[in-house]
Subunit: 393 residues, 2 copies
């Protein structure tokens, strides 16, 4: 069959984070950036189910508003945005199917073919893939231990006047685990306003901080409305409901709502009321505090085993939250080859770092996720992976 | 603020079928193309909730496959596609967030800027809006009482060699209620193959047939794989779970799955297992037979009241299924003006027909939906609307 696909469809690439070998039975997977399902409030959800039918009846199953139910948007504004240091109300919130949909809409709304998107380099591969459909030029900005280099960012804003979006993950970044400093957050908000470039702040992990208080979001420093905040319940509550949100000025939010209308009409009404009932009946902050302890212990264990089993000269990040550690191997090593070997010989998998870069030049990085593996798996898997990696040194 | 939106975002238009006045309290609405929520199997869903937690546990809340859970895809292949006359298996099915997402993906996958999409004229306004983002030229094909004129379709296929998609709603079409004959379905499948143009067959209403057996889908006549079938549980089960599907050849389906990955990763895992449990525990065919009787009685009542209260020379369709009757007013009458009057004077609303056309030339049409209004509302609302319309004759 000689099917003529669109240019967009020709540009589609299979996801590097949803490789089938990651689901192979018996593997120890440091690949999946997913929360540990044993931490989900499953028993509480059973109660919530019954409340939903009693209180919302058949309305839970009917069509509802494209932007999302007002009660849920109010909870998000009052609770989730408040902890991010942002003072907004329901009119500034629209729901999306996870933050991923907010990412895809951002490119759709701001970017024409050939326009520039500035991102941290490396950045979330699922965002880079989603952007690709709109055929932008994605230009990476180098990171320090406290986030994007702001001088380099400004240079690139000047160099590329057709920059239409800055995409950032300021908290425990995917894939590096790096957190942007408060000073840089302020500066980033200023630069967006100065150059009139929307900043898309992707915050799925912000609440999962191990030491200290949650960082104020970039959006909290946004005076003129250039920052679009993407939030999600996927990492702190459950991902299976597909409830995320966009927080933006009314003028910008209107475009996201129209994109949502065209794409899939609305999120699941049922999942919206389930989320409302859970948030009203239970203490999400308490739940977050509980899961943070578990993830922190796993981070500690993984870091310890890197020290124990990996070559001494290897560089790695020490995340203060989130799910990821980022490993830099010596130049010349191809992490894809390491993955092949560690899968075949040891049944241990991870995500090779290449697909997180805007270019194709870096192959010597590994993203390790510790969020959905238990202590035994970390101990065993890191020993095995350390052995494979050590063979290259 | 001087925000530079993309060309796509500039082309967004507010939905004509989600006008805020339709939700005004106290209106009688013939506007909403939604199922009657009093017909939902709400009590059964309460039982299904408990089964889901018992059987799937925390997995119901975790991330799962982009294409959808295999058990659900198998049920869809074996049950829903079988009633559409199509013999496929789970490998030919991928889930979407309602058929709407399948519609949007179709344009994304097949259409470049300036390419032609051929559609029935009029057609579903939500599809025309979704297509617009990809800046095609939408060319309408005139309809008879048994669907698209096939000679005109072929002429246009010859006239526009850059036709990349034919979009059709063969059963109880939105907005006209018209059904495509079996002969035309065969011919349409042949034309797609002959001109190598994908046919996107949108089938949300196919099961809701009042008299006779369900029509075989266009896909059932598809030998070479040019037909993409879009299905949905929204009208026959519940819309609030946002579960629809695409049925296509493996080569085409792969592109839909990659579009899904980029857009929102996956449908709601919870809603997938809820649908599986419902389908396994209860008889959807029996449920469909029950709701069909209700919708048929409402259609009869609405047709009767058109005869009674509307000007004699008015033309209208007599749908054999689905949710809609299509009214043609005499030329020169603007249905938008009628809507204004009937809302202000009588608190009765409907969707003016203009937005369903590929061009802007037709204003004298009205879409009436009888699916979510009770007998009392139909009797009262049609009397009032008939009065408003009669004033123009």
């Amino acid at each position: 069959m000689d099917i003529r696909f669109s240019e967009i469809a020709h540009a589609f690439q299979p996801s590097q984070i949803r490789n089938k070998i990651f689901d192979d039975p018996g593997v120890i997977s440091f690949a999946a950036g997913k929360p540990d399902s044993s931490l989900f409030p499953t028993d509480k959800m059973k109660q919530v189910f019954n409340n939903v039918i009693d209180r919302h009846g058949e309305g839970a199953f009917q069509y509802s508003e494209t932007e999302g139910l007002k009660d849920l948007r109010t909870i998000i504004a009052n609770q989730r945005m408040e902890v991010a240091g942002v003072n907004v109300n329901a009119e500034n919130i629209a729901l999306t199917s996870g933050a991923q949909q907010g990412i895809e809409f951002s490119a759709k709304i701001f970017v024409n073919e050939g326009d520039v998107i500035l991102t941290e380099n490396p950045s979330y591969t699922g965002a880079l893939s989603a952007f690709k459909a709109y055929r932008p030029k994605c230009v990476g900005v180098t990171m320090d231990n406290d986030g994007m280099k702001m001088e380099e960012l400004e240079e690139k804003l000047q160099l590329y006047p057709n920059t239409k979006m800055i995409y950032t993950i300021p908290d425990f970044q995917n894939p590096t685990g790096v957190t942007m400093s408060i000073e840089k957050r302020k500066r980033l908000a200023e630069l967006g306003a100065k150059y009139k470039v929307p900043i898309v702040e992707d915050c799925p992990y912000g609440d999962i901080i191990y030491e200290g208080k949650r960082y104020p979001s970039v959006k909290s420093f946004d005076k003129a409305g250039w920052v679009i905040y993407l939030g999600s319940f996927s990492k702190v509550f459950v991902p299976g409901l597909r409830i995320g949100w966009v927080c933006a000025s009314a003028q910008i939010l209107e475009k996201y709502i129209m994109a949502k209308q065209n794409s899939d009409l609305q999120c699941s009404s049922l999942n919206e009321v389930l989320t409302i009932e859970y948030m009203q009946a239970y203490d999400l902050e308490g739940h977050i505090n509980k899961i943070k302890q578990v993830y922190k212990a796993r981070r500690d264990l993984m870091l310890e085993r890197i020290k124990q089993y990996f070559p001494e000269e290897i560089k790695y990040t020490t995340p203060n939250g989130g799910f990821f550690i980022w490993l830099e191997l010596k130049q010349g090593i191809d992490a894809n080859e390491i993955l092949e070997k560690s899968f075949e010989d040891e049944k241990v998998v991870f995500v090779p770092g290449g697909s997180f870069f805007t270019g194709t030049e870096y192959k010597n990085f590994i993203r390790l996720s510790y969020s959905s593996v238990n202590d035994k798996e970390i101990i065993e898997g890191m020993k095995k992976l350390g052995k494979v990696v050590s063979n290259y040194y």
